[in-house]
């Protein structure tokens, strides 16, 4: 019996080692997929990729990573379906709460939209980007820096509730839903929108309005550098990585009310001390934080700026339509 016990324990050790190896391989593959998707944000779709069934060319549309599912829409995860939903434009000024994340893990994209909304867009700018197809009211045309997308006027709903499933706006307008759908069309499926870094979809949205898109680990930055980035009055984001959480890190995270593995937009209205972040959930916003907190958490900072060696592009919000 003793021998059997030893063999069993040896088997357990091997199983645990295999589990660790599998977890490492899975993490590596996941990282490589994220890296590939990051690059694809900067590459426009070809003409045939961007076309959708019912298009004048009658070409079956695809995204970069996946062919559209039947009946010619970005592929949906289980539990959701498309419902015809008219385009409606925002009725209120556009600000950092323009987009609320839905039942999809795309906090980085929603944060990017909110960063642009805070500094770049007003309702006229949105109307220029998202419009009903003048030739066919059953389609919506979305034009961003990364391309022009002609999309069926349908949006995903949760099969259980019948409610819009993904991005929404507080005023109930659907322009932001179609912006998000264009991003899904860019890749070919909604699941491919999950996980990423905000600066890449920001480039996809506004492109050369900024000459530089920067990413830096907070731990490599001084207090002064972090302060300069956080108050630069341009789209800026913070990501809090999901790491093995020890007692100390968990304590800092809980004290700040942060979500691990999450992306936030830096708010323009800073409190008297520290900096304010906007949760793309539009709920459960964190407490204000200091540069030392960002370093302690291993946070990532992402921002858009202008290289003084290149011709600066005006970035004031009121210039968007000029």
């Amino acid at each position: 019996m003793e021998l059997v016990g030893e063999v069993f324990k040896g088997g357990e050790r091997m199983r645990r080692a295999a589990d660790d190896t599998a977890a490492t391989i899975l993490a590596t593959i996941t990282n490589q997929m994220h890296s590939l998707r990051r690059d694809l944000w900067t590459i426009p779709l070809t003409e045939s990729e961007a076309a959708v069934p019912g298009d004048r060319a009658g070409v079956r549309g695809t995204g970069h990573l996946r062919e559209f599912a039947v009946p010619g829409e970005p592929d949906l995860p289980p539990g959701f379906r498309y419902e015809p939903t008219p385009l409606s434009m925002p009725s209120v000024p556009i600000d950092i709460d323009f987009a609320t994340q839905g039942l999809l893990g795309n906090c980085y994209l929603i944060s990017a939209i909110n960063g642009a909304a805070q500094w770049e867009w007003d309702p006229d700018a949105i109307a220029a980007m998202v419009m009903e197809d003048p030739d066919d009211e059953n389609f919506v045309i979305v034009t961003v820096h990364g391309g022009t997308y002609r999309l069926p006027a349908t949006l995903p709903v949760d099969e259980k509730t019948g409610q819009l499933a993904f991005a929404t706006s507080p005023d109930g307008s659907t322009a932001v839903c179609y912006l998000e759908k264009a991003a899904a069309a860019h890749f070919g499926s909604w699941k491919d929108l999950e996980a990423g870094e905000p600066i890449y979809p920001l480039y996809w949205l506004v492109g050369d309005r900024y000459s530089m898109y920067r990413a830096e680990a907070a731990i490599k930055m001084s207090d002064a550098d972090i302060r300069a980035v956080m108050t630069a009055e341009r789209p800026t984001f913070v990501t809090v990585p999901a790491e093995d959480t020890d007692e100390g890190r968990a304590s800092v995270m809980s004290g700040l009310n942060l979500v691990e593995g999450h992306g936030y937009t830096v708010h323009r209205d800073h409190p008297s001390t520290g900096y304010k972040l906007h949760n793309p959930w539009r709920r459960l916003h964190p407490n204000s934080l200091e540069p030392r907190d960002l370093r302690a958490l291993g946070a990532g900072l992402y921002w858009a700026e202008h290289d003084p060696e290149r011709n600066p592009v005006p970035v004031a919000k009121e210039d968007v339509n000029t």
């Binding site: 994340q101 996980a195 999901a242 995270m253 809980s254 009310n257 709920r283 459960l284």
Partner: protein, 96 residues
């Protein structure tokens, strides 16, 4: 209108989860503990750490936190389940 709660709701990282008429977000996972943020239908919020087996209140129901496990970094996945521990106090039992 209120939604009759399902008997069990899987909680996924990365976005808010619908739990009856409330929403629950996973803030931090440190299995077997988990920090959950609850957004009630009236907009009020409460955030707490829960150990596996403990209960929380959301949308008028008591839910037990079960099957907590650490997520794979970078992946969006189900890391805990809420099961109804006690139904809404205002719900009436069907006639027997």
């Amino acid at each position: 209108m209120t939604t009759e709660p399902a008997q069990a709701v899987e909680l996924t990282t990365g976005s808010l989860n619908n739990v009856a008429d409330a929403q629950v977000g996973i803030m931090i996972v440190d299995a077997p503990r988990i920090r959950l943020g609850v957004v009630e239908p009236d907009g009020s919020e409460h955030v707490e750490w829960y150990a596996e087996g403990q209960t929380l209140t959301a949308s008028g129901c008591e839910w037990r936190v079960t099957r907590v496990r650490n997520p794979t970094p970078g992946a969006r996945e189900t890391v805990a389940t809420l099961t109804v521990a006690a139904p809404r106090s205002d719900s009436s039992s069907p006639p027997s």
